[in-house]
């Protein structure tokens, strides 16, 4: 029988919770043989396979797990829609339109027909909202609710906005303001308080996240972007990922904190920068833009009803700093991480 021998090194007993999501992905990747001529490096937001000399098939899979990804006030409809949105966001960050989705669904034994219908409607709504269709899937029994989504699309290889192209001097820009999702999670988990109006905005950010697909497609067409990632694990982590893959650092001159987050933070004596830099579960795009193409990038995003906010620039020095009003401090390499973060 092909059973592998247990690995006898002194680290072999480290637990998943010690390792965290990123180390686990590194361990996995180190044990996979690489496909020759892979058009997208392992570890980018999506994967791809060459179709011909110009076109690639773009693929992505990510699962939503009830226990860790669905806060208690999120409905099944919303959870199912979110499972689609979080995968669409990865396509958005590469500038690729997904066309089809497959669903692999793990359901607890006590789930009822009405629950299944609610999940099906949420999946379909999420798919149609972003112009794709669900074309297949499978289901089985599991202890947690598991919604594993696989997305497919095609793209010109040279048009993909990967994580590894940022150059010193490029401008750093994001597609929106940060911190609403993490503030909403604080409201749900931590006994924080907010007015009814403010609560609605913050909870809506958690339960009805939006993927910046139109913005990503527009940026892709503008040929102005040198690197791109989504902010699903938090703005700080996104910067560290692009920094690592592009071999650069960043100076951030202004953190785009949402006005609602400033109000929420003040009322609850929280740090708005903490909420905006290290939150996660947010789906803005974080991009680096060639300075000469800045006008094109802004026009492209504004042309589809979005906004592109300049927040800093790419540096040769590989560290990542916040530099506001002459006060320079290190942005830390932390954010949302499975096995380590908690809902």
């Amino acid at each position: 029988m092909g059973n592998d021998k247990i690995v006898n090194d002194r680290y072999s007993n480290e637990k998943s919770t010690d390792l965290g999501e990123r180390r686990i992905i590194e361990i996995l990747a180190n044990h996979f043989e690489s496909m020759p001529n892979l058009p997208v490096p392992f570890g980018d937001d999506v994967s791809a396979v060459n179709l011909d000399s110009k076109q690639v098939a773009v693929l992505k899979t990510d699962m939503l797990v009830g226990k860790t990804d669905v806060p208690r006030n999120m409905s099944l409809w919303q959870a199912a829609r979110k499972a689609i949105v979080m995968n669409v966001s990865d396509f958005a960050s590469k500038g690729v339109q997904p066309t089809a989705a497959l669903v692999s669904l793990g359901l607890p034994r006590d789930f009822m027909r009405k629950d299944i219908i609610e999940i099906a409607r949420g999946l379909n709504a999420g798919a149609r909202e972003y112009g794709l269709y669900i074309i297949g899937g499978d289901t089985g029994e599991s202890s947690d609710l598991i919604i594993s989504i696989s997305l497919y699309g095609t793209a010109e290889k040279t048009a993909l906005m990967l994580r590894n192209g940022a150059k010193p001097g490029d401008l750093l820009a994001v597609t929106g303001f940060f911190g609403k999702s993490s503030s909403g999670l604080c409201l749900i988990m931590d006994n924080c308080k907010a007015s009814a109006d403010l609560s609605e905005v913050l909870l809506n950010a958690v339960c009805m996240p939006k993927a910046r697909l139109r913005d990503g497609l527009a940026l892709g067409s503008s040929a102005s972007v040198t690197a791109s990632i989504d902010s699903s694990d938090g703005l700080a982590w996104s910067l560290y990922e692009v920094g690592k893959m592009s071999n650069v650092g960043f100076i951030v001159n202004s953190v785009p904190v949402a006005s609602e987050v400033r109000r929420f933070a003040e009322f609850n004596h929280l740090d708005p920068l903490e909420l905006s830099l290290y939150g996660g579960e947010e789906y803005e795009l974080v991009t680096t833009v060639r300075p000469k193409k800045w006008g094109d990038a802004v026009s492209a995003v504004e042309g589809v009803g979005g906004c592109l906010l300049p927040i800093g620039k790419v540096t040769r020095d590989k560290q990542i700093f916040l530099d506001v009003d002459g006060k320079k401090q290190v942005i830390e390499a932390r954010g949302w991480e499975h096995f380590k973060s908690k809902l």
Copy 2:
């Protein structure tokens, strides 16, 4: 908020365990809008999207869940390999070579580094055994071990062996003998007994299943097959699925019971037909072949070291009968089904 209203019909409280895997997939499919010009109907072994007028991208996702799909004597290496094999088998049944896989991995908190390495090696071994590469993936925390695999490949649209093409008069054929996996599961679960030699064969069938990829690709090239499916839910279920999608029935004249299964059944006072027809977790191909092309089909499979066993024929009458030695009995519509069957 986009929350759906709860469905108020009298069936809405039926549980997953009452509905079973097949009804759940029907409910889901009924709530998904259909992609126009879908080249493969929803519910076939794989899904596909048109690439151009001739080529399609072929996609499949299916998850292995520790609790329901991994018997207790299967190692993590074997479980990970099996997650690949069960998806490759679906590609095999359509005559399509998969080229790339993505992995979405749900890990319990107490899994250790050595467990993760064992899973990574099993995944890589399964992929390379069938000529594909793992090009991406994600991981998160879950209560059960979850290994969700997504496969990708391309094919000529007209070469796909779908479930819906069987015609009355076609020959019914399979790529091997049945019952070893279900006998192996009986050994593991039910206090059955067998000699050491026999146990090894039967447990190997459970822990190291093989996908009939070479056979499927050869059959696809022979242009002799009118319908095809794999037997992962049991031979009987496979016949019912092809029967339903092709609007036909079957007469089975001989059930290809493995010789080891006859010996095992005799020793344990079990019915070898029951083990071979209704077992599941077996990955033979079940195909219908144009009578004039029978010789081509056999040569194709034998050319890659396999065998094609004729076991009956396709009928206009939509029932499915076993007719051996003039004794005719109905083959029942049952087999392995998630939420209903138990490991």
